[in-house]
């Protein structure tokens, strides 16, 4: 019985727990950003060339600033840093709160009356 209880306690520390622990360690246990929602295709650009380490900013924050010298989507940041999207959102919230990055929200096709974007996509794809 005692053995069973013990194994239940430790059940989460199996192979499947691997990806869970590190991402939340990176965010200090936080699962939600302090600000912003960050769509997968929100575009992120750094507002500065580089940032010196300061309290509250970890290496992952600095890595995002470095990466976003060239504009990147939230999904691209997550892929390049090999972090889950949820983790990247938390880190981006910290950076937005410090004005270290600026965010461009994606176009919402729903409810938009002009068709110019659709036509631009069609022409752009033809020209590829």
């Amino acid at each position: 019985m005692a053995v069973k209880g013990k194994s239940a306690d430790h059940q989460w520390v199996d192979d499947h727990a691997g990806p869970v622990v590190r991402p939340y360690a990176v965010t200090g246990g936080r699962a939600r950003p302090v600000t912003g929602t960050f769509d997968l295709i929100s575009l992120v650009t750094a507002t500065r060339r580089d940032v010196s380490p300061e309290p509250g900013l970890g290496p992952e924050h600095l890595a995002i600033v470095g990466l976003c010298q060239r504009m990147q989507s939230v999904a691209e940041i997550a892929a390049h840093l090999d972090l889950p999207v949820g983790t990247v959102r938390v880190l981006l919230g910290d950076l937005v709160a410090r004005n270290l990055v600026q965010i461009r929200e994606p176009h919402r096709a729903v409810g938009v009356s002009d068709h110019s974007i659709f036509e631009a996509v069609i022409h752009g794809l033809r020209a590829l």
Binding site: Q11, W12, H16, A17, P19, V20, P23, Y24, G29, A31, R32, D39, L40, I41, S42, L43, T45, A46, T47, R48, R49, Q69, R70, M71, S73, A75, E76, A78, A79, H80, P84, V85, G86, T87, Q102, R104, P106, H107, R108, A109, V110, S113, H115, I117, F118, E119, A120, V121, I122, G124, L125, R126, L128
Partner: protein, 200 residues
């Protein structure tokens, strides 16, 4: 270095807008292949860690009591112009990850449902999903070597599709073919919008 200017704030004015197209279909239907065929770079992979319920992930206390899982999405990027970037997202194939799709589908201009005629039923869930949400979509039949070729009307009938849903053949490995699929989708989405605007 390709970013020689230091006056970053001025770039805000020319920050491009991003839009997305989904690529759905059953496991092994060629989603990542199609994304890779038209994207600028090889497909990237992004992951989301989810709890079993998949909702209310605002607190990780008690996470040890929940089963967690990682959902991977492959995606690619096509820079259309200086002010427009198109992202292609391959949707996770498993049914129980539809809550991820909800975020993916939000704001998507349309979806490509890739069908493999050897396992046609695999794309039923994708079709149901997009039909229910009024997301413009088309069905692209990926022509696998060795698979029996079906006529498009046979596929259309087998999938019980609305007659207005385009069905076309493609080879997801070929850039030109993948491009044609995307162009057809955006044309279809535009046509639907115009039709809806006339009605509404």
């Amino acid at each position: 270095m390709d970013y020689g200017h230091s006056e970053r704030p001025s770039e805000a004015a020319i920050l491009p807008t991003a839009i997305k197209i989904l690529v759905a279909g059953g496991f092994g239907a060629g989603k990542t292949t199609l994304v890779g065929a038209v994207s600028e770079t090889r497909p990237l992979r992004t992951e989301e860690v989810l709890t079993e319920s998949g909702v209310g992930i605002d607190d990780i206390s008690g996470v040890e009591a929940k089963r967690t899982t990682t959902v991977a999405m492959d995606f690619g990027r096509i820079t259309i112009s200086d002010d427009l970037v198109l992202y292609l997202f391959g949707t996770p194939g498993q049914d129980r990850f539809w809550f991820v799709w909800d975020e993916l589908a939000l704001g998507a201009i349309g979806a490509v449902v890739l069908a493999d005629t050897r396992r046609l039923a695999d794309c039923f869930p994708s079709i149901d999903y997009f039909e229910e949400r009024d997301t413009p979509f088309l069905v692209a039949v990926n022509c696998f070597e060795g698979a029996r070729q079906y006529r498009l009307d046979e596929v259309q009938a087998a999938l019980n599709l609305d007659p207005e849903v385009p069905v076309l053949l493609c080879d997801a490995r070929r850039r030109e073919s993948a491009k044609e699929v995307l162009i057809s989708l955006v044309e279809h989405a535009l046509k639907l919008r115009e039709a809806r605007r006339r009605v509404g």
